[in-house]
Symmetry: C2
Subunit: 394 residues, 2 copies
């Protein structure tokens, strides 16, 4: 691993020694970002830590808990920073993501993970039950069948888990669609020995990117109203909700004021992206610092008005429009699987070999394209960390 092995953390797999040798040899030295093979996913550690600290402070001040969503970073280094700052645990989107995050002895029994996608089959329940032998697990369910699947699997593994009932708060993606549905889940999970009913989950995914904030607040509060009514029905029937979990980078400020959620699942705030930047631009106090970039290189400069860079639609998620060029040196457009187009105002700029930082349009699925995250401090590469749950969508 070259001269500085301790800067490459234990989570790094599939290390490409051939392509990475120059930068690994120069790790921590001035300017080593110029040695990175591109496209490369880089994260500025100062901006990252500022974002982690800032949201934790604000959530603490509001009297809520923060359970950051690991689906954004899929990375143990960042999760560890979040836990150190005060997070009560983490969220994972899928069981396989949680399995990958917990493949470290350090976390076993100590970190609590909420798997936010409803359990869909006996096979998934088996993996939840296996994970629960070494980790503290909360599963989301929105169907009585999932409770039977979990109870059966847990009786075989000998572990127990917490359960939250996923509630459809307007997104209509997952969740029970009535208070009666939630009551049935609460009642049945309270009957099954290896399950502890903990409360509710409701994610207002449809509201996260609404602008301006006043409109976003209305959509978020409507969603909170559904959760509040469901909680009231459960408590009236004798089922306490110690957890009401949800929220995101676009809604936490409204959720904190509404006081329905007990914990916030924000994920993207650690990185930010062009889409959140656009949505939150009208309310600077809601924004976080851009810590995530895709570093790209000009590979062809034979056209007058634009150049071609080596980051295309295999280098960034494409669902949220184009990337932004970080220093404003032109505008970016996707230009096929392997390349992008960056406009230039003048033929003399952006020669072949020039490097640019791009702000990804959508952070989560962009991170999911990379095996590694390069940690940078300005132009210094200070570490390499594995995107351990990359591709773990199952």
């Amino acid at each position: 691993l070259g001269g500085a092995p301790d800067l490459v953390d234990e989570s790094v797999e599939r290390l490409d020694r051939r392509a990475f040798a120059p930068v690994l040899d120069a790790l921590g030295q001035q300017g080593s970002v110029g040695l990175l093979p591109t496209p490369a996913l880089i994260c500025d550690v100062a901006a990252l830590d500022a974002n982690i600290g800032r949201l934790q402070t604000l959530i603490d001040a509001a009297g809520l808990s923060l359970r950051p969503h690991a689906k954004s970073h899929k990375n143990r280094y960042i999760a560890h920073r979040q836990l150190l700052a005060g997070a009560v645990g983490i969220c994972c989107a899928k069981v396989a993501e949680a399995e990958a995050m917990f493949e470290t002895r350090a976390w076993r029994g100590d970190v609590e993970v909420l798997v936010t996608s409803p359990v869909a089959s006996p096979a998934v329940a088996d993996r939840v039950a296996e994970l629960a032998r070494t980790a503290r697990v909360i599963a989301a369910v929105d169907d009585l069948g999932a409770l039977e699947d979990l109870a059966g699997a847990l009786s075989r593994s000998g572990a127990s888990i917490g359960v939250v009932c996923d509630v459809d708060v307007g997104l209509a993606r997952t969740g029970v669609t009535s208070a009666d549905g939630a009551l049935q889940i609460a009642a049945r999970s309270s009957e099954l020995a290896p399950l502890r009913f903990l409360g509710l989950q409701g994610y207002a995914g449809h509201a996260q990117h609404v602008a301006p904030r006043s409109e976003r607040a209305r959509a978020v509060s409507d969603a909170a109203g559904v959760l509040a009514a469901t909680r009231e029905a459960l408590e009236h029937a004798g089922y306490a909700c110690s957890i009401v979990t949800g929220g995101g980078t676009g809604s936490w400020m409204v959720d904190a004021a509404d006081g329905v959620l007990s914990e916030i699942q924000a994920g993207s705030y650690v990185f930010m992206d062009r889409e959140y930047r656009d949505a939150l631009a009208g309310d600077p106090e809601d924004c976080f610092a851009q810590s995530l970039f895709v570093l790209t290189t000009v590979i062809s400069a034979n056209q007058r008005d634009f150049v071609t860079v080596d980051a295309g639609l295999k280098a960034m998620a494409t669902d949220a429009g184009p990337a932004a060029v970080a220093d404003g040196a032109g505008t970016y457009a996707f230009f096929g699987d392997e390349q992008g187009l960056v406009t230039r105002s003048d033929e003399s700029v952006l020669a072949r070999g020039t490097r640019l930082r791009l702000v990804p349009p959508h952070c989560d699925p962009t991170v999911n394209l990379y095996d590694h995250l390069w940690l940078v401090d300005g132009d210094r590469v200070v570490g390499l960390s594995g995107v351990v749950a990359r591709g773990r969508s199952y």
Copy 2:
């Protein structure tokens, strides 16, 4: 690896033994596709082999060579099938992709790879020169600086490579923009000892998905005209073009008739996708069989008109619109990072746990999301192969 280790090929890395144990234990048995954790990338081997054989036969009959593009599959099993069928070598989009494909002793010195993205920097040239010590390499260049970078790097590694001049045939993404540009590349590469000038590359990427075929043919032939004129200028100046390489799944039939290209770089034909299916639907003889699917599971079925499945925008590329549901059981829409929506006509169908095959909208960047490709024969899983160049976009 369970009961049938020889069905898991040597290229498989990061094997998730926990989640895959049931299917690995049942490999080759009837119905084992039902044991796959989803979303899963599956490839029907009968359709795959039919596609490989069919295009090779047609290209042979036209008197051209086939150099399939490995950027589509990033997989040695499929490349090996293509080489056995008669391919003259492979293409790779980036050096790191080629490095990963050649991390097998079996290919060393025997398989010729054309790296289709222009060499952008001395660091990339160093890696090309290193690769050329164990593989037969052809590099594309569109800038005189790349020739100096390559000559310098090769003088240090002691290897030699072939060079093709990349020509802009209308896409404007990479390539020299004039016959004079190509002449300069030919002249300078002929002066540099470790380089052999082999000819031209021109990819009509803008024409591949044009429908109907008559319009596509016009765009493809216009591009071929640029290559023909460039070749003529080179030959007039004494530079022979033993290779004129380009073409794709949407254009090979026109290229074969035009007679300008000497070899075809098609990639997607092994898999097909919704986008190519739509573009080629008017000309059934241009179509290939759909071999690639994303297997998904219904995870939430509480809504009347649709269900939620576990394949979202981390499971498929999103640049080409929605996936198609393979058996026509509803229509698919992306529904966030982790989920998709499939319509249903009747509440009784598509219960929680139901599995569906999706036709990915765009095959290449979809494959690039998965570490593994499950090889299937109907409902039997017959093998597991590594997407060894996944993420190797640098």
